[in-house]
Symmetry: C2
Subunit: 295 residues, 2 copies
């Protein structure tokens, strides 16, 4: 027997890579009796219609949230400041308002003041994604075996948190509660800084003269191509992440630059032992990740 | 009908990830009538024996090259300075001496003076590898669809270059001839700098306080784990690469640091357009790599 729907009406504001993956899972698992979508992009809406991802689809976020008992914002962070006030009056009492944004303090800063009394605001962040974007890029297995972090403020209704967590667990995720500031710091080092560095080095390579640039592509199998995959991630989404997690990213970047300068000096002075020591330590870290089944 | 062997006796000095992959291909393709190996590590030799990768196996490089018409050095670069003089007097006239090292100018500097007249010295570099090392990590498909760069000096016997190129083509590789200095510059940006950066950021993450460090592993699926894979590459091999391609690595590192500083400034001042512009350009580069079938 299938489990009964956890939600009567799920509204997804933004139906791109993440939103469409949630829609696919909600459908497959029967998590929501009805799936309503909103997407500002006509091209995305055409794809969503074609893929039959939603029962109803709107351009306008406000229309989609009417009568929904779960609303998940799945747009780039830069759109939140507009979405909050737009949906404010249409949110049903008792509904859960969540999101999937990669930064949590800024989300709370932008959205919390707009959330009406009686609506449960539970920011979320599934640690999953690919370098592709748009409704066609989503798939139901995206969250399988991955973590989903929820950052409710103290005093949030526990039953509501549990209902939202149930959705993520049925998507195959492990759920963890975390302080928003701590989330932003951990993600700055595990996700935001790696992306920033990948974007930078790919940009550096393409600042080289034309002849070298062609060879960079040809011989990219030697390390570079892993960076190009990361640096192919959605430009607007990532612009918004850096603008919204500025402090934590700059802090981690400062540490990284110090460490890089120390290595640079070791190379210049031929200090092989320092290099070998670090490289041996980092190899051990890879093993921890394989053991944690996140490789 | 199988093609006849290209070589009578192939000597592999160092039978790790790359050397053992060459041994597997040489066996599968019947490229060499006899495969002789040398490895200084007793543990590696035990694995090589167990896997039956070589017809004869020695600890000593000099013994392995006796009577070989192709000798390929597959050790970390730091061992070359010792191997050159050690094998010098045992190299047969007419034999080809090659290698698979990731730096070419330093290899030529160290080995060329030791190569006897009548031996064809053709430095090589297959652009392939994994983060694993040792004879057990090798596999015959490692070079399939990848480039192999050869950097013979002007005047090298063309027939000898062609015989070596034939080996690599039978391993599934595309062969390209290149100036050693240009090789070192291209690899500095496509391979050496990406590895240096990956080693650095993994080190930075592990300089964080213990509680954050555990979470870095847990939530590594968000970008970080790709870096940990690269930063799990062989420590000694990579120490030697940085020490031997110092100038080109420091030059590329300088460019990278400038670009990173510019991005850091854009984040600090909230210059979203600059970020989005770069991120849009780098996404296009990924497409070029996919089109070049090197993704």
């Amino acid at each position: 027997m299938a489990e009964p729907p956890v939600f009567q009406r799920l509204a997804l504001i933004g139906v791109g890579l993440i939103g469409s993956s949630i829609a696919r899972i909600a459908r497959r698992e029967g998590i929501a009796a009805e799936i309503v979508g909103a997407d500002a992009s006509p091209a995305a809406r055409a794809d969503i219609e074609e893929l039959k991802l939603c029962d109803r689809l709107y351009a306008d976020a406000a229309k989609a949230v009417d009568g929904a008992d779960l609303v998940i914002i799945c747009t780039p962070l830069g759109a939140y400041a507009e979405i909050g006030p737009a949906i404010q009056k249409r949110l049903e009492p008792g509904a859960i308002l969540s999101d999937v944004g990669s930064v949590k303090q800024a989300v709370i800063r932008d959205l919390a003041p707009t959330v009406p009394d009686g609506v449960h605001f539970i920011p979320g962040h599934p640690i999953a994604g690919t370098e592709h974007s748009g409704p066609k890029a989503g798939f139901a297995e995206l969250f399988q075996g991955r973590w989903c972090i929820l950052t409710p403020s103290p005093g949030t209704d526990e039953a509501a948190v549990e209902r939202l967590a149930a959705l993520w667990r049925r998507a195959g995720s492990m759920v963890e509660l975390m302080e928003p500031a701590h989330h932003d710091q951990v993600l700055a080092i595990t996700s935001h800084l790696p992306h920033l560095i990948a974007y930078t080095i790919v940009g550096t390579a393409f600042g080289l003269e034309e002849s070298t640039r062609r060879e960079v592509i040809k011989f990219s199998a030697s390390g570079f191509r892993d960076f190009t995959r990361i640096a192919a991630s959605d430009p607007i989404m990532w612009r918004d992440i850096f603008l919204n997690n500025r402090e934590a990213v700059l802090e981690m970047l400062g540490r990284f630059t110090e460490d890089l300068t120390a290595l640079q000096r070791a190379i210049r002075w031929g200090e092989g032992e320092k290099l070998q020591d670090l490289f041996t330590r980092t190899r051990a870290i890879r093993r921890s990740i394989i053991e944690a089944k996140q490789a």
